[in-house]
Symmetry: C2
Subunit: 418 residues, 2 copies
């Protein structure tokens, strides 16, 4: 089975929003073994949408559309597909009730154009919308399946997962599964990685192996096709083990692992706690850790101290230290880390101070960042980064580096323990 | 001139990464008046890439490719295009020097496969890569222009903006400009908005007007086409004014404005300062404000207090208050806001406390959130939100609501001032 994903919306072609729907739909189809051969984006233009449908009919078995089901004049997906399939549009009573209920609930008067949202292709399966008004539509015509989904991701995603996927599995029955495992590496480049694992790459057929680079990180995707998820995993395992035997030292996690999730895991395993003192990152480090459910037992809290006075008042950093070494210095970072660790009585104290950019800060060029790490029973350390002049990229990368150094420190402390 | 954007990469079709490149390229092309008719994504498969190229040649004047220029075996974009255009691949000396210099700089040995990155189409314009090794390529053949760009966004974006756009302007000369202005609204639904501005929508030709909905917010995009940017702005202005005269009360900003940027602007205009005490959001509120350059004069800092003990120790919240009302309560939120405002001596103190989810917290269901706002010379207020059970969506939405209530409070305080 081959699927093609067609997103409809001029705002996509004007570059005003990103097509995240294609990614979500593709990932869910991969899980049930349906190959995606193509993503297409077309504007709110019936003629060009018709051409796209005719082309997709030639190369795909399943056509999945997102966008253009709303109440406004430029929402034309249903109308165009109805014309292409020579199919009538009829009002779905349940969808109409959902729309009317919504307006009653919020106490507003329903405008006439909202009724358009209750129109569906005659004979179609209606996919209820749990987070919005326009229902989805699924219909089979001449060996092809057509799935119409709303554009907003928070409406489309649950509908696709809970309504469209079961519909497709019902039509086609179970078949091959495509399963992937992603290894995440730090401290090695893409090309060096490829050379090191050349012997593994050369014999790849099933599973296949693909390196992917992103700033400061490399991923290796191992993808297997098999009758069941279990068999796919069995094919992936020996390949993963072989790769680990060659470059295992650089692998910090798999799949959805992040530096924050690994940090949380290590802290909770050891019953250790953490606090942070943040300057240029104004809370991003703690926010990143806080995204992990369960971190509450490890992250006690911390302070954001943006200017010099706050560093003195809130953390008791000596004015003489700041005058002599500057705010952007290893000495300041170490003092901040030690002070926050003491004030919040935690195992680890992490600090970030620097010139986020775009302007220099306290005499230091933008992108100069110091990370301090204080740990119970260990010598306090600081690390210097020299990043770019882009404020928000510097702030994000500083947080990732702080997590990286923290993981190293946690591992060192673990070794000291035994 | 019509452009088609073709992204190459199986990882896109497997749903492992999002095609953000198409958005970036589209937005930049719109700025110089080049229409984008289609986005396409194909896998790392020479045959399907060839078919995509042949199809795009029929409908577009400019073919823009991203991805598949790297050193690994599945990087086949250049080779496939060379075959389609019947064009030789030759080594570019400057690109080779950049690659060699990189390896010298990082002190690593260059592996043989990296040389592939220096191959370019014979006779092409080489687009230097400021953030990576593989150069871009621009070449004209039989009335069509072909632009090849690397896949990683941090390499592609500066290359497209600083090298490819000037190249295209050189080839085609100046022509019509497409310019957009986006109005951002809060507190009104998409369909009600459309009904209210019906009279403006009905007469639209140039500029055109499109409503766009996203969670908790509606945008209106006004797009004009003209000879110059200035003329386009002149067409947009009266339409914007007419819309403002109807629904102006709901418009909180335009284009890239965010609630954080509006908050920053209002604080700086009045020389007012702010601090925050965060529980469930663990620093996200301060991180959001901190993304604005210049916020240093307004954001003094704050605390993250994740558990009950920290709220007592760091903010001096009375244990009896927490025992009686609970951590997730308006009383706790107000006490936190007042305490942090006092400790950091700021004009405003904002607090967030709640059950982020997925588990209940202190007896409250996930998604129950209280926001507290203390302001100099005003009565402290608290606001309750009832959100979903999704931890990270709750955290993000809480921050947006806190900014929304803060903006209302700043405006009230401004009125009191006069």
């Amino acid at each position: 089975m081959k699927a093609e994903i067609i997103a409809v919306g001029s705002e996509l072609l004007l570059g005003q929003i990103t097509n995240t729907n294609a990614r979500f739909i593709s990932a869910k189809l991969a899980e049930v073994g349906i190959d995606v051969y193509c993503h297409t984006v077309v504007g709110d233009n019936p003629k060009r949408l018709s051409q796209t449908i005719q082309l997709a009919q030639q190369r795909a078995d399943i056509l999945i559309f997102s966008g253009g089901l709303g109440p406004t004049k430029d929402d034309l997906t249903k109308q165009t597909i109805a014309r292409e399939l020579d199919c009538e549009l009829v009002t779905d009573d349940e969808a109409m009730k959902t729309i009317e209920d919504y307006f009653t609930h919020v106490g507003k008067v329903m405008t006439e154009n909202n009724k358009q949202q209750a129109l569906v292709l005659k004979g179609a399966t209606v996919l209820p919308n749990r987070n919005g008004m326009a229902p989805g539509i699924a219909i089979g015509k001449e060996d092809k399946q057509y799935i119409l989904l709303p554009g907003p991701p928070h409406e489309m995603e649950p509908m696709f997962e809970h309504e469209a996927i079961p519909y497709l599995l019902g039509v086609y029955g179970k078949h091959d599964v495509i399963s992937s495992k992603v290894l995440k590496l730090q401290g090695i480049g893409e090309s060096e990685l490829e050379v090191r694992i050349q012997s593994v790459l050369e014999k790849q057929t099933n599973p296949t192996i693909a390196p992917l680079a992103s700033p400061g990180m490399v991923k290796l995707r191992i993808t297997a096709k098999a009758k069941t998820e279990e068999e796919a995993q069995k094919l992936i395992l020996p390949v993963e083990q072989e790769i680990r035997s060659i470059v295992g030292e650089f692998i910090y996690g798999v799949d959805e692992d992040t530096l924050a999730s690994k940090t949380t895991e290590l802290l909770l395993q050891n019953d250790w706690t953490i606090s942070a003192a943040e300057s240029l990152t104004t809370g991003m480090f703690m926010a990143e850790l806080g995204s992990e459910a369960g971190i509450g037992n490890a992250l006690k809290g911390g302070v954001v101290v943006y200017n010099k006075e706050m560093k003195i008042e809130q953390l008791g950093i000596l004015p003489s230290l700041l005058d002599y070494h500057g705010i952007v210095s290893g000495e300041c970072a170490e003092a901040m880390a030690e002070s926050v660790r003491e004030r919040f009585t935690t195992t680890f104290g992490v600090s970030l101070t620097g010139a986020a950019g775009p302007e220099p800060h306290d005499g230091q060029p933008p992108g100069t960042v110091w990370i301090g790490i204080a740990a119970e029973g260990m010598k306090t350390a600081s690390y210097k980064l020299q990043l770019s002049s882009s404020r928000n990229s510097n702030r994000k990368r500083s947080v990732q580096f702080a997590l990286h150094y923290l993981i190293q420190t946690i591992k060192e402390k673990k070794e000291l323990k035994y």
